[in-house]
């Protein structure tokens, strides 16, 4: 039996569409058929009563834009027929995290406050992907305003299920992105990473996710959470597809001055060159977790899940057999400060960014009578925001208040310097370790069950313990599938590198992928796709 078109890699789809052997519309039909098969009832703002069948489906899409997608696919097919270049992503089905603006479509941030917002313009990364021939299927679910690590804080429910076991979370905040790609509903997805929001769901769903260097991809048209941390990036099923997608999206943008003007390398060019001579580090600080007791604040340490540690060590051995030099014992002593610093920095930035939602210019407005403008603000925000935005705004107000700001915000920004220094020392070409990349687990555990952690905002945040340091430091990170645990749930491996080293990380990831191609776990399929 031949694989459905939606299960092929983006490279293969684009190649066939460009050659005229497959029509973009046929690829679109294949993706829509898969969506009908696995998606289940559409997430909505209606009062939510969980049904048993919800936990057998994916529920990734907040909005499907089928007509728009059909017009795009027909446009690609017409280009091919007329002998014009349809672009390197010709006909590839794309799901966009609903935190990006797409002109003329609903852009909700998974929040009631933006539920009816129709974006007047398109985000730069989306515009570039569409210009390259990608066919946007619609907008996928996320934690409200990206605030979460499980996708359970969305205002649009049912929340997405993990395709490998829909009773479990897909991770977050780009949970809809990772779930849609894992289930073959989309071939690529555009996500964002602020503390691990691309890499953690990619790990939980057994797909590839990359947080590029801060500034590598424009944030224009991205609804802001923490502006000094937010990074758009690719979610895909193969490393090669992530490289292809990043090459299309990355680069300077006149609409975003934080988008670096560095030339964009051809990430596909050296992808098959292997790892010979590369120095890849392992750090003891990424094999244990240090976290505070929620009652007392006292610090506890415990090792990461042994199966996950074993997967990391086996990956290191495999890379060593391919000529990489493995450097053990690399100190990253400030790793455990990543979450506390993030609790402060991200909340201050979120509170600032969320002040724009006022019921006046766009979004939800309280419809009843109000005495004055202040009351309209309060009532609109009270009804429009869910618990997570409210919590983040309040925390941001507190830690940036004049009397606490030095103790918290300024201190957190200095701690950020220390975290950055760990990476600078590890990657320093004249330093002791001279690493090209650091290899670790992406997450301390595999996907947890729905409702198991949600509600405890501290425990939830610690799901990002191994991913958040790279966000503070701005350096790039790649998560790739690294096997399955005893319960058949995906394990994610993380590669971190110096600023703008995406090509190297992708090359290492591709080497591991190629070397494990024949293994049994590579043939396993997510539960929603098993007959």
């Amino acid at each position: 039996m031949t694989a459905p078109l939606c299960d092929l890699p983006a490279m293969e789809i684009a190649s066939r569409v460009r050659a005229g052997t497959v029509r973009a519309e046929a690829v679109l039909d294949s993706a829509l058929e898969r969506i009908r098969l696995v998606e289940g009832r559409a997430p909505s703002l209606e009062p939510y009563t969980p049904m048993p069948e919800d936990r057998q489906k994916v529920h990734a899409f907040i909005t499907l834009t089928e007509e728009r997608a059909r017009a795009q696919a027909q446009g690609v097919d017409q280009s091919v027929a007329a002998g014009r270049d349809p672009g390197p992503l010709a006909g590839v089905p794309l799901a966009v995290k609903d935190i990006f603006c797409v002109q003329g479509t609903r852009s909700t941030a998974a929040s009631r406050i933006l539920a009816n917002f129709i974006a007047p313009y398109t985000a730069t990364p989306v515009a570039r992907l569409e210009a390259a021939g990608a066919v946007t299927l619609g907008k996928v679910n996320l934690d409200e305003f990206t605030f979460g690590s499980s996708n359970e804080s969305t205002a649009f429910r049912p929340p997405p299920g993990n395709p490998w076991d829909p009773r479990r979370v897909p991770g977050g905040s780009s949970g809809g992105s990772a779930a849609a790609v894992a289930a073959g509903e989309a071939v690529l997805s555009l996500g964002t990473d602020t503390a691990g929001s691309i890499r953690q769901p990619a790990a939980f769903c057994g797909v590839v996710g990359m947080k590029p260097t801060y500034g590598r991809v424009s944030r224009y048209g991205l609804i802001a959470f923490a502006s000094s941390l937010d990074c758009p990036g690719p979610v895909s099923r193969t490393v090669t597809d992530a490289a292809l997608m990043l090459r299309v999206m990355a680069g300077a943008d006149e609409h975003d001055t934080t988008a670096a003007v560095m030339p964009v390398p051809d990430y596909l060019a050296g992808l098959e060159d292997g790892v010979r001579g590369l120095r890849i580090g392992l750090s003891p600080d990424y094999f244990r977790l240090t976290y505070p007791d929620p009652e007392t604040g006292e610090l506890h340490a415990q090792p990461i899940t042994p199966e996950i540690e074993q997967a990391v060590r086996q990956a290191a051995e495999r890379l060593a057999r391919n000529g990489a030099e493995i450097v053990e014992g690399v100190p990253m002593p400030n790793t455990h400060l990543g979450i506390p610093a993030y609790f402060v920095i991200s909340r201050v930035e979120a509170a600032s960014n969320l002040h724009r939602y006022d019921g006046i210019k766009y979004g939800y407005r309280f419809p009843g009578p109000v005495a004055d403008l202040r009351e309209l603000y309060r009532k609109s925000r009270a009804a429009g925001f869910g618990l997570q935005p409210k919590l983040r705004i309040l925390m941001g107000m507190y830690v940036s208040a004049e009397q606490y700001e030095k103790g918290y915000y300024q201190r957190a920004l200095r701690v950020r310097t220390l975290i950055r220094r760990d990476f600078e020392q590890a990657f320093d070409p004249k330093g002791k370790h001279r690493l090209d990349a650091l290899l670790s687990a992406t997450t301390p555990t595999t996907a947890f069950e729905l409702d198991a952690v949600y509600g405890d905002s501290v425990l939830m945040q610690y799901a990002d313990l191994l991913t958040v340091p790279a966000d503070h430091a701005g350096v790039p990170g790649l998560s790739i599938p690294g096997g399955l645990d005893a319960q058949g749930l995906p394990i994610g491996l993380q590669l971190l590198g110096p600023d703008f080293s995406e090509a190297t990380l992708l090359r290492i990831g591709r080497t591991y992928e190629r070397e494990t191609e024949g293994e049994a776990w590579r043939k396993a399929r997510p539960k929603v796709l098993r007959g």
Binding site: G215, D293, L299, R381, V415
Partner: protein, 106 residues
């Protein structure tokens, strides 16, 4: 351990944040805030060398990778209608707001 964020401080924060909360929401959020403060106590307690500078974003913006600010020239946009269309209440091309709290000086 006494809550750092007392009911009084909490109410002040809610006012600053332009929010209004149901009692159950307020109770949950205040408990979560105090729990988060416990989690960041480590930060408050640690010695940080005052010589360590702040990092406002990770990647240093050197001239080599920074965009040159574009010329300060106004250019027409055709988005005005689409933007106005998103406003919950309009009067012609004006945004409608309720009474703005004010004090008459006369």
């Amino acid at each position: 351990m006494a809550d750092a964020i007392t009911a009084e401080i909490f109410d002040h924060l809610v006012e600053l944040a332009a929010l209004e909360l149901q009692p159950a929401e307020a109770e949950y959020l205040r408990a979560q805030l105090n729990s988060q403060l416990n989690a960041i106590r480590e930060l408050e307690a640690m010695e940080v060398d005052p010589g360590i500078g702040i990092t406002s974003h990770g990647v240093p913006y050197t001239p080599a990778i920074s965009a040159v600010p574009r010329a300060d020239v106004a250019s027409p946009s055709d988005l005005a209608d689409a933007i106005l269309k998103q406003a919950p209440e309009l009067d012609g091309r004006y945004l409608v707001v309720p009474d703005i709290p004010h004090t008459d000086l006369t």
